[in-house]
Amino acid sequence: MESTFRALQVARSALNAHRKAMDVAAHNVANASTEGYSRQQVVLTATSSSSPYYTGQTGITYAGYGAQDATKGAIGYLLGTGVTVHTITRMRDAYLDLQVRNESTRWGYWKTRSQGLMQVEVIFNEPSESGLASIMNRFWDAFELLAANPESSAARNTVIAEATSLSEAFQDASRKLDDLAGSMDKALEARASEITSLARQIAHLNDEIAGLAGTGAEPGDLLDRRDLALDRLSELGDIEVYNDHSGGVSVMFGGIDLVRGTDWREIRYVSPGYGVRMEEGPVFGPGGPYFVVGAGGSFDGGLVAAEGNTLVPVRVNGGETKAYLDMRKDYLPKIAEDLDALADALRSRVNEVHRAGYGLDGVSGRQFFADGSGARDLRLHDDVALSPEKIAASLSGAVGDGSNALSLAAIRREAVCQGATPGDFYNSIVTGLGVAGHEAKRMSENQEVLRSHVLDQRSGANGVSLDEEMVEIIKSEHAYQAAARVVTSVDEMVSTIIDRMGLVGR
């Protein structure tokens, strides 16, 4: 005979199960706005009875129930024993995660590149009255003015003033490009630290998750935190994620192992020009000495994975770090080189023409610009800077002749810089910058859209819908109330037996 209180047990299992369902729904609601949270769902299963009930009718066979018991008869039915929480699943689509991370890597690259190029545009500040183009125009114009007024000290002082402006503009631009490179170095150092920190977190989470793997439970919140770390990592560079058999993940970053189980590697940034060579042998670097492992040739700066005293180059292929590296190692040096070439061309040709002319003192063979190399070094020669009357405007030696000044002004039309006039050469630098900036802006906007789309898809799949959770809570509440009613019912039924049976005539 079965237990009288059987139904109570069933009701009790319902109370438990639905209370847990409510807990899960409450957890979802509490974390509705938590970044990276994947909603959890409770999976209820009906529990089955331990033994079948016999009908007592012998001689009848029911198909599918196997052998009968000779005395008890055919098997009649199986009675359920209630409900239990089978598991709490975490709603996460690995494929969507992959898509989000791929798009994030591209987005990280273009967004960072676009910002970097905008900073270069700010340095050049064109088109404007204070940009280098206008300053160069005023420089040539000052010589034109001098050509018509070679005797005038006002005209000479104007030449000095404009030439000084020009020199300062070149020096300024050169310095600001250097500063920008420096700030990119710092940004890369910060990113390298961030990557290392994320690697450490992931390894640690792998450890914690592995610890819980044996219990068969799915540690949703730990997994969420690990996925969040992976998301951020994908913005920084190109990653590949592999699941290993103990619930952990292995992560490859820029083609090298970053995390493997509970092991992780430190990432550092070595700036270009540090002179670290890729060969075996002691080389000095930050906190050095280091041995760099790899093929022959040279390592001209970038991210490295540090293991004790060994550096392994990391070839990032996307993400924020690649954008910074591209700017730092390719784009900025090229622009600085172009600026230097322009300054050198101006210095050399202006000096050449100036030497052929005579100052007001009748002396020729003087330089206009001081000796030097590059944009950083463009400045007036002391002779001319301190004594404007020494500017060689005259070709014949007479004070009223301004033809050398005319020749100096005419340099603006000469192809002195890599086959182009100074104005055209500078224009091509600015236009090139504009084209690159325009492309980066456009790509960045496109990627923003693409990334948003996959983020929305993922959020839709993983995210908490408050409406849904409210419905779940109401369901659980009703089920709980109903189960409580069952308890009350059974209680009344049993109390009939206990209180009212065997009381005939009372």
Binding site: N137, G400, V435
Partner: protein, 289 residues
């Protein structure tokens, strides 16, 4: 795709941000009047803008030079006119003095006048434009003629650029214009003092005529240059207008269009706000008892 309120909210915010960026952009265009803030806004136009600004500055300089050349040439022209008038009077006196019937006293009077005219010519020869001597060649700070008519300038040319590589010669060296006139005056004075009627009627008159001819030639030459300077000025003015217009088309924002865009964007923004607010607010909580 499964949409939940988070997705709705995220999209709403994102779309608003795009609207706000656009609003800001059009507003900035209107308040600055410029279409291009950075080269990346429109790289080709930015390059054009730089090129046109350089061209504009050059044209302004050439216009300036043309104006200045014109002024200079007008001063020279007026000086030469004065010189020619002077020499014409000298010629009259020469002819008078060559007349054998003139008395010695009268000839002395002529001499005095010729001396005065000679001094006057020296003054004219030493004409200035501002603080520079216009007939001294390239030695513009040196007084070209001394009281005896001796020349201390040089024969250099003064150039003014009125176009790329186009240079006007705006001067005539003093000795080319006045040299023969002073030589004639010297001879004339000598002949008058010596009462040499033969010379007066012969070689003196020839020399005076040569002096006049050289002055006339100088004036004609500079007159031609003056015409060129004037024509160039007007041509440059037209060029300047064209370049300015092109520059404005390239750089400046079309006000009407910008205002239209701003208005449209404002409407779109309001619509987005209203629509978004309408759908992010209701949840099931509003309807549960």
């Amino acid at each position: 795709m499964r949409i939940n309120p988070n997705v709705v909210a995220a999209r709403f915010v994102r779309d608003l941000r795009v609207r706000e960026e656009n609003l800001s952009k059009y507003h900035h265009q209107l308040s600055s009047g410029r279409r291009i803030e950075w080269p990346s806004d429109d790289p080709v136009a930015a390059g054009e803008s730089l090129r046109l600004r350089a061209a504009l500055r050059e044209v302004d300089r050439y216009m300036n030079n043309s104006e200045e050349a014109r002024s200079w040439l007008e001063v020279a022209d007026s000086a030469l006119n004065e010189a020619i008038a002077t020499m014409q009077r000298v010629r009259e006196l020469n002819v008078q003095a060559a007349n054998g019937t003139l008395s010695t006293d009268s000839r002395k009077a002529v001499l005095e006048e010729v001396k005065e005219l000679s001094n006057h010519l020296v003054q004219v020869g030493n004409s200035m434009y501002g603080d520079r001597y216009i007939f001294a060649g390239q030695k513009t700070k040196t007084m070209p003629f001394d009281t005896a008519g001796g020349y201390h300038g040089d024969d250099g040319t003064l150039l003014r650029e009125i176009g790329p590589g186009v240079r006007l010669v705006i001067n005539v060296p003093g000795d080319q214009a006045f040299g023969s006139a002073f030589a004639a005056l010297a001879d004339l004075q000598a002949a008058l003092e010596a009462d040499d009627v033969g010379a007066l009627g012969g070689s003196c008159l020839e020399k005076v005529d040569k002096g006049l001819t050289d002055l006339l030639n100088a004036r004609t030459k500079l007159g031609g240059t003056l015409s060129r300077a004037e024509m160039s000025y007007y041509r440059l003015k037209d060029d300047r207008y064209s370049i300015s217009k092109l520059l404005s088309d390239t750089e400046d924002v079309d006000m009407a269009e910008a205002i239209f865009r701003l208005r449209t964007e404002e409407n779109a923004y309001r619509t987005a706000l209203a629509a978004g607010a309408h759908i992010i607010q209701p949840t099931i909580l509003d309807f549960l008892r």
